[in-house]
């Protein structure tokens, strides 16, 4: 029978390391967000900048957390084996969704600054926005946001709690239970994810519409989830965590999925752009017209090459996926590109010409600090791997030879 592996790592992280992560994360978070808040003192323009920078950073981390939530659901839905070692990490990232719900509050506060359709005088005079008022109105928007976060947090907690219960009991019934719920959760996830981003991002331009928009956001979210997992896996193994559990094969597989979703993102983004360009109907092209002028076209080209053309060749390489340095560069780069992609969707609504602002960076760093801090707290509280998952050993045995 030969070379059977057994789980031999410490499922717990050194509390000092996790504690440090939490402390540093909180520190960076508070400083970063306070610095961002300084724009609020800079008049109306500064206030607008604050909310748009906030929305961009918020969307970045929310999509990563949602990607991780769907990773967990997908693992159970398809009864995957390879991802058993990654499962807890994804659960821990998705457990940041309550944090994202708190970070959503400033967006509710700043709705009037962010969303044009909240202005009553606009609704009164603009026929198109008036038509959409039954959907795009403040009350319903808030109710929907509560429903979206409620559903996501419930699902994230459900999977994480049952998974941790299994750490204690090793009960296989818990695996079956999570599998049983996975299909229903998939449906809930897909619908909430779509409409959340119709609300938060597509309605930034209340005239514009695209049926594929939800799929574009989904593709970016999944891509960045696999990039985040790869980076965390590299960080774990570098710090002596799960060195024998997160194998080179597992990293290779996560990188493959990152590559796959990079291509999928390109496919759906291209579909959206191309059909709108070819149809050339003013109500649709307005969105791209804004993004292809006054300097924004360079950001668009950066997204085209940085998010797809170059990574396509780089991430395709088997060598890259198995080299720790190259994988770290590739995954870090893809996360950066995910941010640029969201920035390109959001910021032209505020600035009609390309106009980077330091608050974009401080909001990103600040929220990133909090995101890492709360992830660190989960590392301290429970095992970092679902070590009694009945599929874990089999996932360690996979390698791509």
């Amino acid at each position: 029978m030969g070379h059977h592996k057994t789980f031999s790592d410490d499922p717990k992280v050194d509390p000092a390391l996790a504690g440090k992560l939490f402390k540093v994360g909180i520190g960076v978070g508070v400083v970063g967000l306070l610095a961002t808040a300084a724009t609020l003192a800079m008049g109306e323009e500064g206030r607008h900048q604050f909310f748009f920078s906030w929305l961009t950073a918020f969307s970045f981390f929310t999509t990563i957390a949602l990607g991780a939530l769907f990773f967990t659901i997908l693992h159970h839905l398809v009864r995957a084996t390879w991802s058993a070692g990654w499962r807890r990490t994804a659960e821990n990232i998705a457990a940041n969704l309550p944090l994202m719900a708190v970070l959503f509050i400033p967006i509710l506060v700043g709705m009037h600054d962010i969303y044009h359709w909240t202005h009553e005088e606009v609704v009164a005079t603009d026929e198109i926005i008036k038509w959409k008022a039954p959907y795009l109105n403040t009350g319903f928007f808030v109710i929907r946001a509560v429903v979206f976060f409620g559903a996501w947090i419930a699902m994230a907690l459900f999977f994480r709690r049952n998974s941790i219960k299994q750490d204690e009991s090793g009960d296989v019934a818990l695996t079956f239970r999570m599998r049983w719920w996975a299909p229903v959760c998939t449906l809930i996830f897909v619908m909430t994810m779509t409409f959340a981003h119709f609300d938060w991002l597509m309605s930034l331009d209340p005239h514009w519409f695209s049926t594929i928009f939800g799929v574009v956001i989904f593709a970016g979210a999944m891509m960045s989830c696999y990039a985040t997992l790869s980076l965390i896996g590299l960080w774990y193994t570098k710090n002596g965590i799960l060195q024998n559990t997160i194998t080179q094969g597992n990293l290779h597989d996560a990188a493959k999925m990152m590559f796959g979703f990079t291509v999928f993102w390109a496919y759906v983004s291209f579909s959206q752009y191309y059909l709108i360009w070819y149809g050339n109907i003013p109500e649709e092209t307005a969105w791209y017209a804004l993004r292809l002028d006054h300097g924004w076209q360079w950001v668009g080209i950066a997204v085209l090459f940085g998010h797809f053309m170059i990574p396509f060749w780089f991430l395709m390489s088997r060598h890259m996926k198995r080299s720790r340095t190259a994988l770290a560069i590739g995954a870090g780069w893809m996360l950066l590109m995910h941010f640029v992609d969201l920035y390109y969707m959001i910021m032209p609504t505020l600035h009609h010409g390309f106009h980077p602002h330091w608050a974009d960076l401080t909001a990103l760093i600040g929220m990133g600090g909090l995101f890492v801090a709360f992830f660190g707290r989960r590392l301290a509280s429970d095992a970092v791997v679902a070590y009694r998952d009945p599929q874990l050993v089999a996932s360690m045995e996979y390698d791509n030879v």
Binding site: Y135, V172, I212, V215, G279
Partner: protein, 472 residues
């Protein structure tokens, strides 16, 4: 993997090959279908299929003689059943490559039992699909103009037209699918050659087996070629139906021009392809005694794919409807209300019932493991997906000028041509069943426990032998 045996029941799926087969009995069971003389049932089916094929020939001949006036096309509806049938068949052709390429890359080993005939089905479906653009052009003798051939008249097809991209996309797809299928067949053709009783049989299979001897080097090259073809075929699974969707979506016709069309068409194609695989697999496994290879688990997995892709199609319908309202574009809203409650509302309800509602029955494990239910629901999906393309095409019947609105009715030639394409499909499929192994023999062996060099059975046999020796 032997780690699986230590885990509790149900965590890992059951073995892929049932019925206590060894390598020899696998070869025998599958080769028997090809080696035994055709049964009366096969001849009866073949007689029906080839007669229907002859009818297709008659319809096409009359079309070429008389022109497209024999079809039900009218002024607003310039695209009728020909495009519907084309998209229908191309869509069906997606399951084969998805099973053979994408599931291969995803290490879904259950694909091995069904990939061979899903790929065959793909090739035959694409042949059926290619008939329609070929014949619908009117002046059939100028059909070669579809390809960009240099000529002294300096006439070129319109490179900006997705109809031309279809020519490239579908022909690339056909070529790669055929290569993929053939590469996979080579080891099995050699098996049939080695078992051949007659000289003709021996040389015929021998010619196509390309001198395969099962050498280590042969296998290494084979595995590499297979992986590369899987990688090449994967983007094709998406590209073909994406470009087919462009046929509609690059226009500005309400109901056609929407950004979700590419992935929505691909999901629909996989959905219809898997349904056709089920329509063929469920009876075939019974008739030819392949139940140990195409097990209930295989059928159940395919039903799950049908449920998932059917739901994706449902998602696309929902997005189209929501955005039709949300866009506040009056033409878009009209197109969708007309689709539902207009003269073709009946077709819309057939589409939604068969594509979105009935596949939901597969949520029940009892239904998705029942062969009768699977067969019935797969037929529903086939019907629903034909109607989906019909509904989309019929967006034309009420165009921007109400005075030119018209209803579309097919003529008898529309109907017989479509029915005839099934004759072509089944004739090819029946020939395939009789001349080529319907299940990939070599691949099936690869997923059996004996294929693992560390298999317990070898160890046990070794111990038993050693014990025997020591006692002796």
């Amino acid at each position: 993997m032997s780690a699986h045996t230590k885990s509790p029941d149900g965590v890992f799926p059951p073995p892929l090959v049932q019925g206590g087969h060894d390598f020899g009995s696998v070869t025998d069971t599958i080769c028997k279908i090809v080696e035994e003389p055709p049964t009366a049932g096969w001849f009866a089916a073949f007689a029906v299929a080839s007669s229907v094929l002859a009818m297709l020939g008659g319809c096409i001949a009359w079309l070429i003689w008389e022109g497209t006036g024999i079809w039900g096309l009218n002024n607003p509806v310039g695209w009728g059943w020909a495009i519907v049938n084309f998209v229908f068949w191309v869509g069906i052709g997606h399951a084969g490559t998805l099973i053979s390429a994408i599931l291969f890359l995803f290490r879904q080993r259950w694909r091995t039992a069904i990939n061979r005939f899903a790929e065959a089905m793909t090739i035959f479906a694409v042949i059926c699909a290619l008939v329609f653009p070929g014949i619908h052009v009117g002046r059939i003798w100028a059909a070669y103009w579809m390809a960009p051939l240099p000529n002294q008249m300096a006439m070129w097809p319109n490179f900006r037209s997705p109809l031309l991209w279809d020519v490239f996309a579908v022909s690339t797809y056909f070529t790669v699918s055929l290569l993929f299928w053939y590469v996979g067949l080579v080891p099995d053709l050699a098996t049939l050659r080695d078992r051949a009783k007659g000289k003709i049989r021996y040389y015929a299979y021998g010619l196509f087996a390309l001198g395969w001897r099962g050498a280590n080097r042969h296998w290494q090259n084979y595995e590499r070629a297979y992986l590369l073809l899987a990688g090449l075929a994967t983007p094709l699974v998406l590209s073909v139906h994406t470009i087919v969707s462009f046929d509609f979506a690059v226009s500005v016709i309400p109901g056609w021009h929407t950004t979700i069309f590419p992935p929505y068409f691909v999901a629909g194609a996989i959905f219809s392809g898997f349904a056709m695989v089920q329509t063929l697999a469920v009876p075939s496994r019974k008739i030819f005694g392949l139940e140990d290879f195409i097990t209930v688990r295989h059928v159940e997995n395919m039903n799950k794919v049908i449920l998932v892709t059917g739901t994706m199609v449902g998602y696309a319908y929902a997005m189209e409807f929501f955005i039709a309202w949300y866009s506040a574009a009056p033409y878009e809203s009209f197109a969708f209300i007309n689709r539902m409650f207009g003269p073709f509302g009946w077709a819309y309800f057939i589409m939604v019932s068969c594509n979105v509602i009935t596949p939901q029955l597969f949520w029940s494990k009892r239904i998705r493991t029942s062969m009768t239910w699977t067969f019935i629901l797969s037929i529903f999906v086939n019907i629903g997906m034909w109607f989906e393309r019909f509904v989309i095409t019929m967006s034309l019947h009420r165009d921007f000028v109400p005075s030119s609105w018209d209803y579309y009715s097919p003529t008898v030639f529309d109907i017989l041509t479509f029915v005839g394409s099934f004759g072509l499909f089944f004739t090819l499929f029946l020939l395939f069943l009789k001349f080529l192994p319907a299940v990939a023999i070599a691949e099936i062996k690869g997923v059996m426990p004996e294929a693992d060099p560390h298999w317990d059975g070898y160890h046990d046999a070794h111990v038993a032998k050693a014990e025997e020796a020591s006692h002796g």
